[in-house]
């Protein structure tokens, strides 16, 4: 993973000193509430319902064991012994004290971590594919590119006060696992038939109040120009994005208002001045970035060990379930990526205890070269596990409550913190997730349903990505009462789509019953092996609506 040199370290250290000064001025009354707000937000600090919340960046989801241990120590010392992984590969602390934040940032900086630009109207943490570097369908490892973007966007002097937040995601595989079509800018790395690396640049995607799928600004940008092109895109947005109405300030509104052709014309006109200038990437620069993401020293795995692992699957049903759902193919024979489930009824989706963080640190060292990844589905991944150690890892994960064999099923719910924590929320979301996990916990039923994304957001800001869940649930507020709106047919991968609202919203206690009816329609109507999403697309809204509102 990326290791800081003295320049990176100096910058995060100076950032801590700067923030300590800002906090001192705020607490000392020399910096007003309104003026402190963007400064603290750009350091990941929110003032929430019951306490401050600190959002720590995990650039493109990569974490080392030493960092996991530090996070565990921080949650114990400054919080309540747990943290929450978000849908954008960040970790949130729910209960830190305001005056401790500079100290926490200092302790993060010691392990090359920070909370820079995890919130605020600036370029946020760049996210990527949790299987980067190991996926069999990958054409280009996105992480070196993400790191180049991280550096370019960190404390960018021109773009610290954009009209609104700005999120970039990068994918380099055949299957998009980074939801690039619903980001302000989505980047797809691909090779043309001459073997030249190109970047497809999408702009104007996003969820929130006005969900949209991104449009292609440029399909075949030569890789050398990635940073100058991004600079042109963000500059056009900074100049022309709306600032009069925060609900219309995202780049998607600008792209929609201008039309993609006019937006593209402006970007290209701007880029004409920047093209081939400073920040143009060279093979050397990219190589230097790639050297931070070397292939780990994997030992060879015997064919007999691979066979033995297959044999164990045949013999042990529980192990087989785990492998089927939580283990992903690897580009190297004899290796697998293992998803550690952070979804279980006793905890909010994405929550992790300090003990678990430490356990993952140990397991990562023991089984996967001391690294782990955070997924946008709010789980963790050990990316390089030899198959002959899968069983041992599985047992260890069971001990720590992270072997729930339900990754990718209805039970693997994406969920925001909701009204239990968040001051923006209209309604709670975690209790909905827990009620659904309780109702649909029979594994055979879950497996029979097959791949199913159920996403829950507690308000239209859509942190729980409800628009792109096959089933989406949105908490709404009507005259002070919590209601839930259900939508169907969303999807975040290559054939991305936005869910369609089923109809009038429901009481909280009725949500499990409503979802049950939706699932009944699917089970009755599906063709053999047809995914929920495909059945929905084939038969449409009506049968679901009729059953639910009968």
């Amino acid at each position: 993973m990326y290791r800081y040199d003295s320049y990176d370290q100096t910058l995060v250290d100076e950032r801590v000193v700067q923030f300590r000064d800002q906090m001192d001025r705020y607490l000392g009354g020399r910096l007003g509430e309104d003026e402190f707000r963007p400064l603290r937000l750009q350091n990941g600090l929110y003032i929430q319902k019951y306490a401050p919340m600190l959002r720590i960046a995990i650039p493109y989801g990569m974490l080392g064991s030493h960092q996991l241990r530090r996070l565990a120590a921080i949650t114990r010392r400054y919080d309540r012994g747990y943290g929450h992984f978000t849908t954008r590969q960040n970790l949130q602390l729910n209960w830190p004290a305001l005056e401790d934040i500079p100290q926490i940032l200092g302790e993060l900086a010691e392990v090359q971590m920070h909370a820079i630009q995890t919130s605020g109207n600036c370029i946020r943490n760049t996210t990527s594919d949790q299987f980067a570097g190991i996926a069999a369908d990958e054409v280009e490892d996105p992480r070196p590119w993400c790191e180049l973007i991280r550096q370019w966007s960190t404390l960018h002097p021109e773009f610290a006060f954009l009209p609104r937040k700005f999120k970039i995601a990068v994918s380099g595989a055949a299957e998009d696992r980074a939801a690039i079509q619903v980001h302000d800018i989505g980047l797809r790395l691909w090779y043309d038939d001459q073997g030249e690396l190109k970047v497809r640049v999408l702009a104007g995607g996003g969820l929130g109040r006005t969900p949209m799928i991104g449009d292609v600004v440029r399909d075949d940008l030569p890789w050398q120009h990635l940073l100058t092109y991004l600079e042109a895109c963000v500059r056009v947005y900074n100049q022309f994005g709306r600032r009069d109405n925060k609900f219309k300030a995202r780049i998607k509104i600008l792209v929609k208002a201008l039309g993609i052709d006019e937006f593209r014309r402006r970007v290209e006109a701007e880029w004409a001045h920047l093209k081939d200038g400073t920040q143009t990437l060279t093979a050397q620069a990219v190589e230097a970035a790639r050297q931070h993401f070397p292939e780990p020293p994997r030992r060879p795995v015997e064919d007999s060990a691979i066979e033995a692992s297959e044999q164990l699957r045949v013999e042990n049903r529980a192990f087989s379930r785990f492998v089927t759902n939580n283990v992903t193919a690897h580009k190297v024979a004899g290796y697998k990526a293992v998803t550690l489930s952070l979804k279980r009824r006793e905890h909010a989706p994405g929550d992790v205890t300090a003990d678990q963080l430490e356990a993952v640190a140990d397991l990562a060292e023991q089984f996967s070269f001391g690294e782990c990844r955070v997924t946008h589905e709010q789980n963790l991944v050990l990316s390089d596990v030899p198959v002959d150690e899968l069983e041992a890892l599985w047992h260890a994960l069971e001990t720590h409550g992270m072997a729930n064999p339900t990754v990718g099923t209805l039970n693997d719910i994406i969920c925001c913190p909701g009204g239990d924590f968040c001051s923006l929320a209209n309604a709670v979301s975690i209790p909905i997730a827990q009620a659904l996990q309780e109702r649909f916990e029979d594994l055979d039923f879950l497996y029979d349903l097959g791949p199913l994304d159920l996403n829950i957001s507690g308000c239209m800001n859509a942190c729980g990505h409800h628009h792109v869940g096959h089933i989406g649930i949105l908490g709404v507020d009507k005259k002070g009462e919590e209601y839930y709106q259900v939508s169907l047919g969303g999807n975040s991968t290559d054939d991305a789509s936005l869910g369609k609202i089923l109809g009038p919203s429901f009481f909280r206690e009725d949500v499990p019953e409503v979802i049950d009816k939706v699932l009944q329609v699917y089970v009755e109507q599906r063709h053999e092996d047809e995914r929920f999403l495909d059945t929905y697309r084939r038969i449409g809204h009506k049968p679901f609506k009729e059953r639910v509102y009968a």
Binding site: E14, Q18, E35, Q151, F161, H273, T278, Q279, A288
Partner: protein, 189 residues
């Protein structure tokens, strides 16, 4: 406007104030990283030129008075830098860029375009909602004069200016990205 108090207070509410009566005096100015005072006053009145010189006036008024040395324009944050405007601005003794709110980031782009695209070498002054914690970014984008909002403390401002000794991106102050510098230094060693 927030940065200064008008120099004159109205004595009677019946007479409309003249542009001179509504002039703003800039109290706390940082130039090239050092506190400094100068003679420039600021007028936000768009209907009439004040008598006083030197004075910074709205762009449209300035464009009507070509070649007067004691007049300089200020640009609103939504100014679009067309080629005609850019050419006209070459003659300005200084250019001020207004921050109507500190959260309005358009001024940063304007300053960079003036410096890096138009090659403007005169003073670029930040006016309006100019706060301590923006100064580092402003300096990087080409502002060399910072007219602080009147409630801002000079010592905080001078400290904030030096917050960072390293930056990743090229801008007006540094001509190469950090990744380029690393390659250069590696090549040398």
């Amino acid at each position: 406007m927030p940065e200064t108090k008008p120099e004159h207070t109205p004595e009677s509410t019946t007479e409309p104030l003249t542009a001179d009566q509504q002039l703003h005096h800039i109290d706390t100015l940082i130039k090239m990283g050092q506190p400094e005072q100068d003679e420039w006053a600021l007028s936000r009145v768009s209907e009439a030129l004040p008598e006083r010189r030197p004075v910074i006036v709205p762009l449209a008024l300035w464009r009507e008075q070509t070649g007067e040395k004691g007049l300089a324009p200020w640009l609103s944050s939504d100014t679009e830098l067309t080629p005609e405007l850019a050419a006209a601005l070459e003659a300005a003794p200084l250019i001020a860029i207004d921050f109507p709110a500190f959260t309005d980031g358009r001024g940063y782009t304007l300053a960079r375009l003036l410096r890096q695209r138009q090659g403007y070498t005169g003073e670029i002054r930040a006016i309006g909602d100019v706060l301590v914690d923006q100064l580092y970014y402003m300096t990087r984008c080409g502002f060399d004069a910072l007219a602080l909002r009147e409630d801002q403390r000079l010592e905080d401002a001078l400290r904030a200016l030096g917050a960072f000794s390293v930056s990743y991106q090229p801008a007006v102050d540094i001509g190469e990205a950090l990744f380029e510098r690393r390659l250069r230094e590696k090549g040398r060693s």
